[in-house]
């Protein structure tokens, strides 16, 4: 039930964001976010953005995996 999916914020109106999740547009409330802007990736759970995806760290994790494991 704690399933959360990453999506890209493509629009914001009031405290509701329009989020692109794999090509489908969904509404997500931003009431639990300190800051969020168009272009941010966020994790969506039960109609709310619950946290940002730190894209730099995601790339860093993938780079570490390549370096540590796939040599």
């Amino acid at each position: 039930m704690c399933l959360g999916i990453p999506g890209l914020i493509v629009g914001i109106k009031g405290d509701t964001a329009t989020v692109d999740v794999a090509g489908t547009k969904k509404d997500a409330s931003l009431r639990l976010m300190e800051k969020a802007a168009i272009g941010d990736y966020v994790i969506i759970h039960a109609g709310f953005a619950i946290e940002k995806v730190d894209t730099k760290r995601a790339e860093e994790t993938l780079r570490l995996i390549r370096e540590t494991f796939e040599r």
């Binding site: 039930m1 704690c2 959360g4 794999a22 639990l32 994790i43 759970h45 995806v53 993938l62 995996i65």
Partner: protein, 363 residues
């Protein structure tokens, strides 16, 4: 899908498994405490891919499953007696059996019970039905409780007078502590839930390393995340280290989502809570604060007491504590199936029994 597909690559998964196999020597029990992990581990065959000295045990990580039979019976009784009420609930809760019925059966008998994707949907139901009392049957861990709390803030701002919730939210760290204190099961380390921790912050597990010498890695839910989390734990075991580490650092921080924490604290306060199979765990639930009592279904109605009787023969309690695997339950895949579930762990797609049935059943 961005930030999902990259964490499902087969070659990377195989490389991590190889590394785990070459590194791991000790016999260890690792508990995952999130239904989404349980599902992912079964789906991608991670348990089978690991060497035999690493045992993965599924814990009480599915909020639907840990909701007590008492509380299911209470909401069923409420739906029978309050004909002016609409009950809003998350989909997984519909089929969860109480002692002699489920919300789905009550709906078939005429009770007005509606499935919501977001708690916000229940506000819309309340707005559209001003002559009805709308009660949200609110289950969930720390990932979900802020969404319900934010919904309550919205309901207060909107001045809704026909909306309330039965707060059965559960907190993860007290349950981990209760399992370790019970001494019933040996757990050497934990895979902690990524999205719960996105809210509460990884610091919340400090007591595991300090008081219990139990390593803990907060992991994401894709197969690479789960494997990397296990690798990080194995490294701690083999190096005789004991620390809290974050694998899922693209989403999880040490502090967590402080805004979400504030919203929870505005509406709720910690309270005791009854867990299926485990019993009462002090400080493991969330109750409405006095300032939000108008939205507290417990106070608004005289909620039925409900009896605590598990379905006959059901071993979900032992499954939830990691004491037995689902195939050791005599009902598993015989009397109890996803089509006709007897216990909650077979109902929810994240339940341990459902995951075993779907991915591990040998015909």
């Amino acid at each position: 899908m961005k930030y999902i597909d990259e964490f499902r690559q087969k070659e990377a998964a195989q490389a991590i498994i190889k590394k785990i196999r070459s590194l791991s020597r000790k016999e260890v029990n690792i508990m995952e405490i999130c239904g989404t992990h349980t599902h992912s581990i079964s789906k991608y065959g991670i348990r089978e891919a690991l060497p035999e000295n690493i045992r993965l045990i599924s814990g009480p990580g599915c909020p639907v499953c840990v909701t007590s039979a008492t509380d299911v019976n209470r909401i069923i009784e409420f739906s029978r007696t309050r004909k002016d009420a609409i009950i809003a609930t998350f989909g997984d809760m519909m089929k969860v059996p109480g002692t002699d019925s489920s919300l789905q059966e009550e709906k078939a008998r005429g009770a007005d019970i509606r499935v919501v994707y977001s708690p916000l949907d229940s506000i819309e139901i309340a707005r559209n039905n001003p002559d009805k009392e709308v009660v949200l049957f609110a289950v969930g861990f720390e990932t979900t409780s802020p969404t319900v709390a934010a919904t309550m803030l919205g309901a207060k701002e909107a001045g809704l007078r026909n909306f309330s919730a039965l707060s059965l939210h559960k907190l993860t760290p007290p349950a981990m502590k209760a399992l370790l204190d019970s001494g019933e099961i040996k757990i050497d380390g934990f895979i902690a839930p990524g999205h719960v921790t996105a809210i509460i912050g990884a610091r919340a597990y400090g007591f595991l390393a300090e008081d219990y010498k139990s390593p803990c890695v907060v992991a994401g839910f894709e197969p690479i995340d789960a494997l990397l989390g296990i690798y990080m734990l194995i490294r701690q075991f083999e190096e005789d280290r004991c620390a809290i580490e974050i694998e899922y650092d693209r989403v999880v921080t040490w502090e967590g989502n402080t805004r979400a924490q504030e919203v929870i604290n505005e509406v709720f306060e910690p309270s005791d809570s009854l867990w299926r199979g485990i019993g009462n765990i002090p400080g493991s639930g969330l109750s409405f604060r006095q300032t939000y009592s108008e939205f507290d279904a417990e106070k608004r109605f005289s909620m039925p007491k409900g009896v605590d009787a598990e379905p006959k023969g059901c071993q979900c309690g032992s499954v939830l504590k990691g004491l037995i695997t689902p195939d050791k339950c005599p009902l598993f895949a015989k009397a109890c199936t996803p089509e006709f579930p007897i216990g909650p762990c077979m109902v929810s797609s994240e339940g341990t029994c459902a995951a075993w049935y779907k991915y591990r059943r040998i015909a």
